[in-house]
């Protein structure tokens, strides 16, 4: 079989937020980049950009100001990936990433110095940092406890407007709920987010949707829907709905498949190609050689289709779900470079007996140990390679799920890795 040979400065491995971030930051700095990864787990992502919500995890301490939380974290846990970079770099990373998203067509809003609170489809309230513009009015409306209507869609399983309203009503008496049929899907017993999102591109669908909630207008200041208002141009679609109804419209995250996650993926895939990143999706790194300071990556589905010769690699392959780490019965391995993985002694120690144990599970702190340049380390404490960097959830000593820091960690560590390329003059 013919294999193509590609030379590049940088190969980014991983199609999640850390990989997208690394490719964006590299391309913005004029670094020739190949981006390779799987089908991406972004349909599982809420679309929210968490920075730090909780620290320490075991105390469930919630922070209003994430930047103060980062100070506390640095003091308490110098091994946390955030603790290895200056706070200013974390700010710059978020600014540059959110700018990139905006240029790509996905607008975010935030209080620069504060976290925000947003309602979840099961009625819980989540602390986050960057919020898609389509969801922002939900944050504002909930904060002011304004009269508000939550709309459910008949057949959209896992999203009950009554569940949200019932769960929040003791703190928010002005919250009401209704459930309607989606235009054209009245007879479907089960409906899905993606077809509805595509259908809402049509003005006719929007008008029919508006008709079904119009009776509530006048009683409420804002109406929240599940996140289905288009995969592109959502801000235009929502603004059109607002014009039709005369009240603020906002989106609420849904369980997967998540449209806000899909928006990031589609917009950034296109944008990264536009700014010169060559993408190889969905593909795997099947083998790797290190030859005279250069990586040779064999890339394909099951057999090698491309050989990429890269002067540097950023590994952002994720954890177990993403495939970056592999858990065998006796040990945890890193999938591509067979790097040492920091991990609990044996499987009995991986997880607590209570799923919701406030301390979190020890396995969630497993991952790659790195130096201050974000280079994975060998057991002897030295970098495995001078030109291999790691970013995102594969890194050790962080529990992004409990700390509410997933996207922020991905973006910041991708930024730090790209910065290290310059600092260490790897590509010179």
């Amino acid at each position: 079989m013919h294999t193509s040979k590609i030379h590049t400065d940088l190969a980014v491995i991983g199609s999640g937020l850390a990989g997208i971030g690394a490719s964006l930051f590299a391309a913005n700095r004029g670094i020739h980049t190949i981006h390779v990864g799987g089908s991406s787990e972004l349909i599982f992502a809420s679309g929210l950009i968490d920075l730090v919500g909780i620290h320490p995890v075991s105390e469930k301490k919630l922070w209003t100001n994430p930047w103060y939380a980062l100070d506390a974290l640095k003091k308490d846990n110098p091994f946390h990936p955030y603790s290895r970079m200056p706070k200013q770099s974390i700010r710059s990373a978020l600014d540059e990433f959110i700018d990139g998203l905006q240029t790509a067509g996905v607008t975010y809003k935030r209080h620069y110095e504060q976290n925000s609170q947003i309602m979840m489809p099961i009625g819980t309230v989540k602390t986050t940092y960057g919020v898609p513009k389509s969801m922002w009015d939900g944050v504002v409306t909930m904060k002011k406890k304004e009269p508000c209507l939550i709309v459910g869609i008949r057949g959209l399983l896992g999203f009950s407007s009554r569940q949200i309203a019932e769960t929040l009503k003791s703190h928010w008496p002005g919250l009401r709920h209704t459930t309607i049929s989606f235009p054209g899907l009245e007879k479907s017993s089960e409906v899905y987010t993606e077809p509805m999102a595509r259908s809402l591109k049509l003005a006719e669908t929007r008008e029919r949707l508006a008709v079904s909630v119009r009776p509530y207008v006048g009683m409420v200041n804002a109406i929240g829907f599940p996140a289905i208002f288009g995969i592109q141009d959502m801000d235009v679609i929502i603004s059109d709905m607002q014009d039709r109804l005369g009240v603020r419209i906002f989106e609420i995250p849904t369980m997967p498949p998540s449209i806000p996650g899909l928006r990031i993926k589609e917009a950034m895939d296109a944008y990264l190609r536009e700014i010169g990143v060559r993408t190889l999706f969905p593909k795997k790194v099947l083998n790797v050689q290190h030859d005279n300071k250069v990586f040779l990556l064999g890339i394909g589905d099951t057999t090698v289709e491309h050989t990429v010769r890269a002067n540097a690699v950023i590994l952002a392959s994720g954890r177990f779900l993403g495939g970056g780490l592999i858990a065998e019965r006796k040990q945890i391995r890193e999938a591509i470079f067979d790097l040492p993985v920091f991990q609990p002694g044996n499987r009995e120690l991986w997880h607590n007996q209570n799923f919701f144990d406030p301390r979190g599970h020890a396995i969630n702190l497993a991952g790659l140990e790195i130096d201050d340049h974000f280079r994975p380390l060998l057991k002897n404490g030295l970098p495995a390679f001078n030109n291999l960097f790691a970013a995102g959830s594969i890194l050790a000593h962080q529990d992004w799920m409990r700390m509410k820091s997933g996207a922020g960690l991905a973006i910041a560590t991708a930024y730090a890795s790209v910065e290290s390329l310059n600092k260490l003059a790897i590509l010179k």
Binding site: T124, L157, S160, M255
Partner: protein
């Protein structure tokens, strides 16, 4: 405080207690069954679902072997809706004890247990998952039985005949008077509410908890606790029950149950009933051991594990608790100075009916009731509330087009909204508050590949839309449902199961922040 009166109070809602409730009500005896948790919360819900041919015990316990053989034959006739008559194999692999192999058919014959010798080549053809190193194989009449359906059907018929079931009802204490239990005080474990039950006769059918309950009446006896852990595979590995042909040891049986197989078991002596959970070491041991007989188990995905406690009546001195008889013990406490009290414990799922019969005979004799047992011949009716626990039934019914509602709340196990609704109605009607946990006992929800990650949310929102849950009840309900599922998956999290657990935590903690409530 409320006081209830009845002829017989049954303590324990496992297969023995529910079987006894049915036996008694069929004889026209009035009874109340109290259960501190839910139906089959103990060993009755934590076993292989094996209907023994008896062959397992021909060497160690011939009495039990014959007992099993007779009862299994009887249940295949009267409770066929709960049974899949798969047949079973006993196979030995290279290195297994040849004397045991040679003796096996003779011992079976001696106990009257039908057995057919198979050529190992034919055995492998029948069950391709078997190791190529099989050196001996026999066919026996093992079958698989759904213990949840069995208990739910038993209690349902008893209920229709006048028995009252109280769930979440724990015995607080007995009031004794003139060598009799005069009243039994019951505490509702959810509300804390107390009530009294006045019964002519009290039966302690609390399985592993029998010693604790008897202790409340000042009676003590020896009961050894043997923990057994089991593992459920993602898909069905063999069509028949497959036993290892050797003296009882770890991981020597694989029982089919609908679309899955169940691998068991271990036998670990424990001192306390507080923590009955499978350990990582037990799981690893079983996988390694069983692979000798069925090599694919080394690579199979397991979706759940669980553990039960066998109450073994008799001395705690036996060096190996596998040597204590697996037969049952009916203890007439009149001999201990409490005239209207009896304990029934030990035994096996296969012999539950016989245990109920013997117990009912004793207390009917005490009450001077002379109606004979009906359960030997009376078929066990099949009713809706117990139709959805077996893994193969929901998809099968869908394919047959019996279900009009195509809204699948649980995609892994194909449980539609219409079934959840009928379960909600049935739970509400008979037992009180429906929630995820009580639905979990009565259906396959949360038992498939997603481990409850998605169906828990889909069903929780459905419970709100149907006004079954109100206020913020859903949060605690999701937490306890997921934690219950977690106990079963925690020891077997590697490969895909671990990725699935990570997704579950990403969604429920990372995104929803459920751990913060």
């Amino acid at each position: 405080m409320k006081t209830f009166e009845t002829q017989v109070l049954i303590i324990g809602g496992g297969v023995t207690g529910t079987g006894l409730a049915r036996d008694l009500t069929l004889r026209g005896v009035d009874c109340i069954l109290v259960e501190k948790g839910d139906i089959n919360a103990g060993a009755s819900g934590a076993n292989h679902g094996l209907l023994h041919s008896g062959a397992r015990y021909v060497s160690s316990d011939p009495g039990s072997a014959t007992e099993c053989m007779r009862e299994a034959a009887l249940l295949k006739k009267t409770a066929s809706e709960c049974i899949e008559d798969t047949g079973g194999l006993f196979v030995a692999v290279q290195g297994d004890d040849e004397k045991y192999i040679a003796d096996f058919p003779l011992l079976c014959e001696k106990s009257g247990i039908p057995v057919t010798i198979l050529d190992p080549v034919d055995a492998i053809e029948m069950e391709p998952a078997l190791s190529k190193r099989v050196i001996a194989a026999f066919f026996v009449q093992d079958a698989s039985i759904d213990p949840f359906k069995l208990s739910l059907e038993n209690i349902e018929q008893a209920r229709r005949l006048g028995c009252t079931l109280q769930r979440h009802a724990q015995v607080d204490h007995f009031d004794l008077d003139h060598k009799r239990i005069r009243t039994t005080m019951i505490r509702n474990t959810l509300t804390g509410e107390l009530s009294n039950i006045e019964a002519e006769q009290v039966v302690n059918a609390s399985g592993a908890w029998a010693k604790e309950i008897a202790g409340l009446a000042g009676i003590s006896f020896d009961l050894t606790y043997s923990k057994g852990s089991l593992l459920i595979t993602h898909s069905r590995i063999a069509q028949r029950v497959v036993n290892r042909l050797r003296p009882s040891a770890n991981a020597d049986i694989l029982v089919p149950g609908g679309t899955v197989s169940i691998l068991g078991t271990t036998s670990v002596s424990i001192d306390s009933l507080d923590k009955i959970i499978p350990t990582v070491a037990e799981i690893d041991l079983m996988v390694s051991e069983a692979s000798a007989m069925i090599p694919v188990l080394e690579k199979t995905r397991f979706i759940r594990s669980y553990a039960g406690v066998r109450p073994l009546f008799g001395s705690g001195n036996a060096s190996d608790d596998r040597q204590i008889s697996r037969s049952f013990a009916l203890l007439d406490h009149a001999k201990d100075g409490v005239e209207n009290f009896v304990s029934i414990t030990g035994g096996k799922l296969t012999t539950y009916r016989l245990m109920a019969e013997k117990t009912a005979d004793l207390i009917c004799h005490r009450m001077d009731i002379h109606i004979p047992c009906q359960t030997k011949t009376e078929p066990l009716p099949s009713v809706l509330s117990a139709r959805w626990t077996k893994p193969d039934l929901s998809p099968k019914n869908l394919l047959q087009g019996n279900v009009l509602d195509k809204t699948l709340l649980c995609e892994c196990e194909m449980v539609p909204a219409s079934i959840i609704d009928s379960l909600i109605a049935s739970i509400r009607h008979r037992f009180g508050k429906p929630d995820l946990k009580s639905l979990g006992v009565r259906s396959r929800i949360g038992k498939g590949a997603c481990q409850g990650t998605f169906c828990s949310i889909r069903i929780s929102s459905h419970l709100y839309d149907t006004e079954t849950l109100n206020g913020d009840q859903g949060i605690g309900d999701l937490q306890s449902f997921l934690n219950e599922r977690w106990r079963g998956v925690r020891p077997l999290l590697w490969n895909e199961s671990l990725s699935q657990a990570e997704l579950q935590e990403a969604l429920h903690c990372g995104m929803f922040g459920l751990e913060l409530y």
